[in-house]
Amino acid sequence: MRKSPALASQRWALVRKRAGRIALYVTVAFVCVVIVFPLYWLVINALIPGREVFQYPPAFFPRTLRLNAYQEIIQLHPILTWLKNSVIVSSGTVLLALILEIMGAYALSRHGWPGRGLLALGLLSTQMIPSAVLVIPIFIIFRQASLVDSHIGLISVDTALTVPVGIWILKGAFDTVPEEISDAALADGCTELGVLIRMLLPLSLPSLVAVAVIAFFTAWDEYVFASVFIISQSLRVFSVGISTFIGEMATPIDLIFAAASIFVIAPLIFYAIVERYLISGLSAGAVKG
């Protein structure tokens, strides 16, 4: 039996489509594996017996996994204190940053006042200043204000680091709410604060989530200020605690990885939960610039 040419070309198109699909999935899988590998490697090295860490070539799929390293590192170093301090500083930063960002974004988005463009440019120029430049002058101010060696001091700096980006994103979100709607609400006797709380904020929820996440990560990750401003061991945050392991020889490496994986897992879980808000939240700001 001979196949009709039409049928053959149809079948050929189907084969090509299938091959395209397979190529797509293979590419995506490959990219995912490459990107996620350092995370996998971190966790695996915390879970294998200590001596196997120094095995070369290393085993990609180790046979024995155990949790001893976690127990040991928690006994050896104040990991849980670092964790608690990081949670305090990061949550505090999120709260303070949200308040300031909402105020700043509202002012930029809703009020036509002179110097608006200048403030916008000022926000951008804050992004050019490295922490290493800011750390000494701010340290001097903070010493006079007794804010050195306190979580409040660190929170206020971390907030300042994240606020410019946050205002930018939130302003973009507020801009997408037509001015006519808020004007109508104002005409109906709603206060400006009422418009902000009942209208702009609910409509900008994804962007609020996005800036909260960015604030949280900024504080969780911040290292330069935390290492200079926090002196007491009991106030030390996780990023600084972890950095003391880099290049030191006393702590076994599997214990270090156990500590690092605790530090990493918290923001990753947080991120995985809020990720879907993030995309739409960023888009409002990203498009508007």
Partner: protein
């Protein structure tokens, strides 16, 4: 409402910059009890005459160009990949953006272990390549150290920008593609005439942010190589930190900081000028 925010930011950013400008004209040293003496342009003169400083400027530009180009190219490629419809796309989106949520200090910890000359897993990968018969000095040889820094930077930074491009891609009107396909446009033409113009403003502002964030990036380089060997992998920020905080020379460090700031400002002015010219002004 803008006033408290502006004051807050002025205390944290403007005051230190003013202070830094002043210090850059003095011989101030950290932890020094005597007030600093005015030295005019001496710090800037000694920078201009220092071979080390020009090496660092070269490093900074090299890092900016190479890392940023790779970040933009990969971010665009990943965004285009994830913009296609396939099952598990949301999961892939979460997985590929994880490095953004990965704290930097911990990332350096795991990467420096991966780069370990004797036990690092990167040795395994690189020796799969033909012709590689021994473990490279990932962080000690200047060329390899740059490669290691750039690779880690790209891994850490590009996923976030890929998300941003993806959001821009998803806002492009799908009907434009349908209409162009009816007119017989090929996939390259679709990309060239619909996709690219659609995401151009985002790409523009993103490139600016990647560049100025790149100039001030500190932890990755400082914790990975410490700017070494010597200052071969030190960027301006790292060198500023080493000079001002480790060597206590705040005056000279201040001058470096100001030079760095001017570099970022120049980039921004060029950006504003170009986007105004193209009629895509975002600032």
């Amino acid at each position: 409402m803008a006033l408290p925010v502006a004051i807050y930011l002025a205390i944290v950013f403007a005051y230190p910059i003013g202070q830094e400008i002043y210090l850059s004209f003095t011989d101030a040293r950290l932890l020094d009890r005597t007030p600093p003496a005015w030295v005019g342009l001496d710090n800037y003169r000694s920078l201009a005459g220092s071979g080390k400083f020009w090496l660092v400027i070269g490093n900074t530009l090299f890092y900016a160009v190479v890392a940023n180009a790779a970040i933009i190219a990969l971010a665009l490629a990943l965004a285009l990949l994830l913009n296609r419809a396939f099952r598990g796309r949301k999961l892939a989106r979460v997985i590929t953006s994880l490095p953004w949520a990965f704290p930097e200090v911990a990332a350096v910890l795991v990467w420096s272990w991966m780069y370990n000359k004797d036990f690092g897993v990167m040795n395994v990968f690189v020796r799969w390549l033909p012709g590689v018969t021994e473990n490279p000095s990932w962080l000690l040889d200047p060329k390899m150290a740059w490669f290691s820094i750039v690779l880690m930077t790209v891994w850490k930074i590009f996923p976030f920008f890929s998300l941003i491009i993806l959001t821009a891609l998803q806002l492009i009107d799908k009907e434009l593609y349908a209409a162009a396909k009816i007119d017989g446009a090929g996939s390259f033409q679709l990309f060239r005439h619909i996709t690219l113009p659609g995401i151009a403003p985002t790409l523009g502002i993103m490139t600016l942010l990647i560049t100025i964030w790149g100039f001030r990036r500190f932890s990755i380089i400082y914790l990975l190589t410490g700017g070494g060997p010597g200052v071969r992998t030190a960027t301006l920020v790292v060198f500023t930190y080493i000079t001002a905080i480790r060597s206590l020379n705040v005056g000279l460090g201040g001058a470096m900081a100001i030079v760095g700031l001017i570099m970022s400002l120049v980039i921004t002015v060029i950006y504003v000028f170009v986007t105004r010219r193209l009629g895509q002004a975002q600032i």
